[in-house]
Symmetry: C2
């Protein structure tokens, strides 16, 4: 059979990885796909670098439209990223009848619904395994592997940079800023690491997974996002003492009032498998009503792991591109005309439990004041530790784990506690998730 | 669109689970599949039970051929199991132009190649996610999620009964027989548990995964199989002291001389995520050249977890059944006319490292004798512990961890060591796998 022709937009880290893996495993990939998958044309601003990488026989251009409009191209691979030109290019490629493979999580988290609808109308596929958790085939698991289930929740370590920082802070007892500098030196963090450490990247990914899991449109603007920049090694240490580990999790959950969609540092029991995922690795736990909890683990970034997902999509499209468009796997797992309007609920309405830490003047009656405030908001206490003040100090640390309550109640209680004259500074609040099989 | 009609062969544990989940999640499954998936007819020997479960509107019969020959049935689901009638039924269903979904690992591990070839010729699909690791979508990951990779090895905890027994032996320090009895009482082990504890069930599953990973025919008869019946709590404890945990693993690996295919108790480093998979849970680690190591974890058995996989296959077939048969996902990932004849190598040729434990008379020169024998076979020692004899005893336990060597060499060395007059009884030999990302 004649080869499938690929046009590549962008030959940075993932583009180069895709090129290298397609070349190295060419024979084995063709045996799986049923025909050869050949890169025909590459567009990149850096023409010299692209030419050097491509070698002979591949057209290199700095004109992206040349790729999209190329009559021989079956699949356009968009690896430019970002929200500027990628959206226009993908929509134009679809309009030209090209299938699209993309790793662009930021784009899909905001404009995915529009893009998938355009693809559906035109009868082409848009595949995006590489957009979430690098090499882990989690999109395929959600979209195809778990279709029997009413999915209940997903919780994932889906940003390797943040997980590396938290692992190092815990293992070496170092403060956030020191480890962030190390991560930059090791190439694990960008010069501007805001996307990773502020939780934005994780929010893009959990937004996409929520859409597939629950059959709702992508709604990045509804995600609650809190990063790891304010975490201290003290809280990491106290969490360990209590049998928990702190991870930056992307969480989405189906509750009676709608869908929760949130990214924040989270205490999870150390005995859970996912609590033991360290360094730059990613892992996602998915809970379905039939299957129970399943977990998917692997490299969440890097040239070749991400290329692994890009090429898996290329093989998928190759295997299915001749099929009747009404009988293909829908991009979001659910048929596009059968999406649900179940709302994403506000963080104020989320029910979870909490780790609280505060500094209090070491005098009688303090605990009574705090526990009375919590009781007034109907918040019950699961565990409490009081750490005696160090010598030459008069402030004790009080750590409280609460049972389940509503976010707006804990916030109101915290405001009251902070207003107590015996409480010094702010109350630290970190959410807890048990992630059990119930 | 008109519904997809299912005929169910066998309504035991998995059949009942499939029935229950299809009914409970009917609306959500239809939104994913694009049409309703309806069980039309059920065949089971126990007519009364089947009728009671099915309720009105579903034909119940004790004649399996009525299902296979039913003109309205699109997909036959084979949940009878075993090697007796299932093979004939599946081949007849294929001949009738029915798609087939099966959970029959024993059948596929021996006759899969023949069955897939028949299906390919007739242009129908045979799906079997439920045959390996219950609810974990590992077949999909191997067949579709990791197609970019030259796969290097797979190592899996793929028998929950055996893993439960090993977990309990370690956590509670109990002997094998005691825990086996408990497992029977809990319903985790069959009255005749041979398939589970002798490694046969795990060998069926790793045989199927090897075929998909390496594009070779299924060759259950070539698998090396060793169960857990001879494991002692002493070895489990010594392994822990050395930083290892003992798991029954199914292993398949691509090496220069061919494919390794084996099931046996294995020491793996405690720090690996898979070492921490306890109880009846399953987990599979897959190493690809591009993606590195990925891990898949979940329930490996049970009515609803297995039903989750059966129904995922039903949705897959529903989504793809109208597609051009030449452009579907091949059953074994590789195109059926492009399978490889790479041989499965004999266990004698396998290279790995070993844990050895022996009882020796506590006298000088013993270690010199043992180490000389190992050196003569070019086996180098990684670690050695000598446990002093208990009071009133004169035999010391000697534990040796070797570096990599060839199985036939270690066996020859063990024979020589056992022949030493100072060595009492047999040398215990357990294989070690590092399962690292290299």
């Amino acid at each position: 059979m004649k080869p499938i022709n690929i046009g590549l937009l962008g030959i940075g880290t993932v583009g180069s990885g895709t090129f290298a893996v397609l070349k190295r495993n060419r024979e084995e990939i063709a045996r799986r796909a049923g025909r050869e998958i050949v890169i025909k044309i590459i567009a990149d601003r850096d023409l010299e670098k692209a030419r050097c990488l491509a070698g002979d026989g591949i057209v290199v251009t700095d004109n992206v439209y040349e790729v999209i409009e190329h009559p021989d191209i079956d699949i356009v691979v968009e690896l430019i990223g970002g929200l500027t030109i990628a959206r226009e290019l993908i929509l134009k490629a679809i309009a030209q009848g090209k299938h699209v493979v993309t790793a662009n999580k930021a784009l899909l988290a905001s404009y995915g619904t529009e893009i998938f609808a355009a693809a559906h109308e035109k009868g082409v596929m848009v595949a995006f395994e590489a957009a979430v958790a690098g090499g882990i085939p989690i999109i395929k698991a959600l979209r195809e592997g778990l279709t029997a289930n009413r999915l209940e929740w997903i919780a994932g370590i889906i940003n390797g940079t943040a997980n590396f920082i938290l692992s190092e802070m815990r293992e070496k007892g170092l403060p956030f800023e020191t480890v962030l500098d190390q991560a930059k030196q090791l190439g694990y963090a960008e010069a501007d690491p805001a996307y990773d450490i502020e939780g934005i990247d994780a929010a893009h990914k959990i937004t996409i997974m929520a859409a597939i899991a629950f059959g709702i449109p992508v709604q990045f603007d509804k995600a609650y996002i809190e990063g790891i920049t304010k975490l201290t090694r003290e809280d990491i240490r106290y969490a360990e003492e209590l049998g928990y580990r702190i991870k930056l999790l992307g969480i989405t959950k189906r509750v009676s009032s709608g869908i929760e969609l949130r990214v924040h540092p989270t205490l999870i029991p150390v005995r859970r498998l996912i609590a033991n995922v360290e360094g730059v690795m990613n892992a996602i736990v998915v809970k379905g009503d039939a299957v129970g909890t399943t977990l998917y683990y692997g490299a969440g970034a890097g040239a070749e792991p991400t290329a692994s997902s890009v090429i898996a999509d290329l093989v998928d499209v190759t295997r299915m591109h001749t099929a009747d468009p009404m009988h293909r796997v829908p991009s979001l797992s659910f048929q596009p005309d059968l999406l649900s309007d179940t709302p994403v609920i506000s963080m104020d309405e989320v029910e979870t439990s909490y780790y609280l830490r505060m500094h209090a003047v070491d005098q009688s009656g303090v605990l009574a004041d705090i526990t009375r405030i919590l009781a007034n908001f109907d918040i019950s206490i699961n565990a409490m530790i009081q750490k005696e003040p160090d010598e030459h100090e008069d402030k004790a640390s009080i750590i409280i784990l609460t049972h389940l309550t509503i976010e707006k109640n804990i916030n109101a209680a915290i405001a009251k506690i902070e207003a107590l004259p015996v409480i010094m500074g702010q109350v630290i609040r970190i959410r807890i998730e048990e992630l059990n099989n119930k």
